[in-house]
Symmetry: C2
Subunit: 466 residues, 2 copies
Amino acid sequence: MNNKKQNILIIGAGLCGSLLALRLGQRGYNVNVYEMRPDLRKTDISAGRSINLALSDRGFKAMKLTNIEDKVKELCIPMNGRMLHDKEGNTFLSNYSGRDHEYINSVSRGELNGLLLTEAEKHENVTIHFNKECKSVDFENTTALFRDFNTKDEFVEDADCIIATDGAGSALRNSYYLGKKFLFSFSQDYLNHGYKELSFLPTEDGGYKTYKNALHIWPRRSFMLIALPNLDGSFTVTLFLSYDEGEYNFNNLTTPEIVTEFFEKEFPDALALMPNLVDDFFTNPTSSLGTVKCSPWHYKGNTLLMGDSAHAIVPFYGQGMNAAFEDVVEFDNILDQNLESWEATFKAYEKGRKKDTDAIADLAIDNFHEMKDHVANPIFQEKRKIEMALEKEFPNDYSSKYSLVTFNETISYREAMLRGRAQDKAILNMLADGIISVDDDLNTILEKVKNETEAILEDDRIAGLS
Amino acid sequence: MNNKKQNILIIGAGLCGSLLALRLGQRGYNVNVYEMRPDLRKTDISAGRSINLALSDRGFKAMKLTNIEDKVKELCIPMNGRMLHDKEGNTFLSNYSGRDHEYINSVSRGELNGLLLTEAEKHENVTIHFNKECKSVDFENTTALFRDFNTKDEFVEDADCIIATDGAGSALRNSYYLGKKFLFSFSQDYLNHGYKELSFLPTEDGGYKTYKNALHIWPRRSFMLIALPNLDGSFTVTLFLSYDEGEYNFNNLTTPEIVTEFFEKEFPDALALMPNLVDDFFTNPTSSLGTVKCSPWHYKGNTLLMGDSAHAIVPFYGQGMNAAFEDVVEFDNILDQNLESWEATFKAYEKGRKKDTDAIADLAIDNFHEMKDHVANPIFQEKRKIEMALEKEFPNDYSSKYSLVTFNETISYREAMLRGRAQDKAILNMLADGIISVDDDLNTILEKVKNETEAILEDDRIAGLS
């Protein structure tokens, strides 16, 4: 496998697959990528609608590794914090961190994917084949069956190894599951909430209708609306709502009148910015929110799952793309070890990586509850206030759970989860018990939080809970 | 649905299905049960080998409900505790509870299933059809496709509702998954350990070769052997071992010499009782250990999963059968509410029950680690000692996690899990911190344990963790 003439077949040229192709191309492998969709640089796939994502420090690690950081930054809009909107239209800006240089970036999925494809194709040892849908993978023989979208012909390709970056509905993962050739642990977990994409269009002169450098949130306990800025002055707006619970839900929002009534009641300031609401609502699909975990990711040295195909997560930490990009960085680190075989490489990669992708999946579920519910809860607001002050006062000594996950790319997701959850528990309980309060001296608070966090982690260790 | 002439089709006449048929028969419904295997009362299915199970208080609730408690007791061998065996052959008996009337029962799966079938068939409104394998279920039309084992003919049956009690490999659950007609959350999680059944044969005069009234355990950290008594003087012995890790594992135990060497080294006192080891080892299959969770269990009012088909668990709490039997009790409670439709009935049943079957699944994984590892760990042994003393001294005021799960059938699995885990954490940490010790006054220990347990539960509540 250290022979650079090895042929690697990648299934899927989305964000993870095109980045992986770029990196493996840089390393000198012969790379063939098969993508089911047409080339998104030449086709207006989403009819002008740009789904956007939050790119943060773990994702940027991969941009640095592949030397495209500067080009990517041109596609980014910094979001310094969450702007909360209450029902009366009052807003409150809550920074993501007490450190000014820590922010997340709104980026268009299509633009970023296009850049990665272009960079990958600059390597003559990388070839991307569009309109070729993978139907199944014969993982025992390291071959994949494809269907050409235009000719409808089916054909089989082989390779020295196959890496599937074909997303949450992965054909390789499905072949693992249906094949029953080995014990395959697998889970798909759906939330009872779905989501629908809406939009704020730009002003007539191409400006932004609301504050540009924030991730806007309208938290309403059992549902919420969010908005992220796009380069063209528009915002991509997403409604997260139960399918069937509560007074309003996706199952009963069936007429323009009810949809408008719902927005008038719950999101009046947002409604004022979206004359296009009803059109968007009934044109765009309602999509599900699911978490996928599985193991093993690899079959011997033949095949490997990476990115969403191995670990699809809900979007509430803004880490799905970042986790997939970090996969490529971690895989690259394992390749640097020059292990004796693809099997050893895949095994070492999964062993090191899976605990972290499990952690970010669980953290994303945590944040689903935090975003829609806790941000409007007094004790959680006090905690946030204290943590912002600690981060500002002690930039090198304190990071909130959100900062640990989002801005501390040198520690793993699992470490961020364990420490972050313990810190949250420490602060919330000390607030509830009157041991600390928002007006206390920050040095005292920091010391108490650190000690209590360590005590919580130690208690869990003794009880065998972590 | 309150019309007793409703036709109910049950898929699977195992322990859960035959009990459900009995109970629904008692309630007056028209019940047809389809079972893929032949009638186990007439066929020697397992070639003389009786897999046995531990029946405890939650299971007995269902025996009482159906008025067959006395008949079932005749099939039971009480096991008062765990008998631990170390490598030198020393034994240590650790009771399951400090209360003498609390014990579990070894019972033969085949005998118990046979009894349930016979009791169910006493009702003329219950018919059991053997050798009819369910291939799939059309849950939208409430029909099931069967294949006759003898004639190989396929046929379709319909009913007012279909309840699948067809175990971990459920055909209905598979139809839910493959149908993709609704969001179906599903997980299958395998341990890296498998198991193999072995045996101690009776003595020549039909007696027991080792102590009868215990569940014997040979804990060896990363693997273990257990033995349960049978009525005929034999013991069913089970080896739990990794497939591929450690010096000895299922993948490398490939010759009679290596198997014997492994037992000589690790289980010499057991080996002395099993001249039949090599035969058993190479005749019996190695089976996997998996947990299945899913949701929803029902499709409208048409179909419902119950027992292992809805929630298969690993065997380490001895609660798989008990949980399935408790399902029937809980379902019966919902039927007593006379809700307006099967859909309302199924929905109420799942809403009340799923949190508890999720809990016992997680508890069973906990106990996997406790049985093979913690029982040989000094601080866990001290905890056990303290808990036994507390249960003996304060029979109405203290129950260990094991007792809460196994003998406190009036509290739910979830409540038992939350309280039991908090108690364990409290005792282990107070032991580690020197706040309590095994020689302290029991009144003082009880008070400290109760207070600390409450504090732990309260801390978790404040942090939103439970």
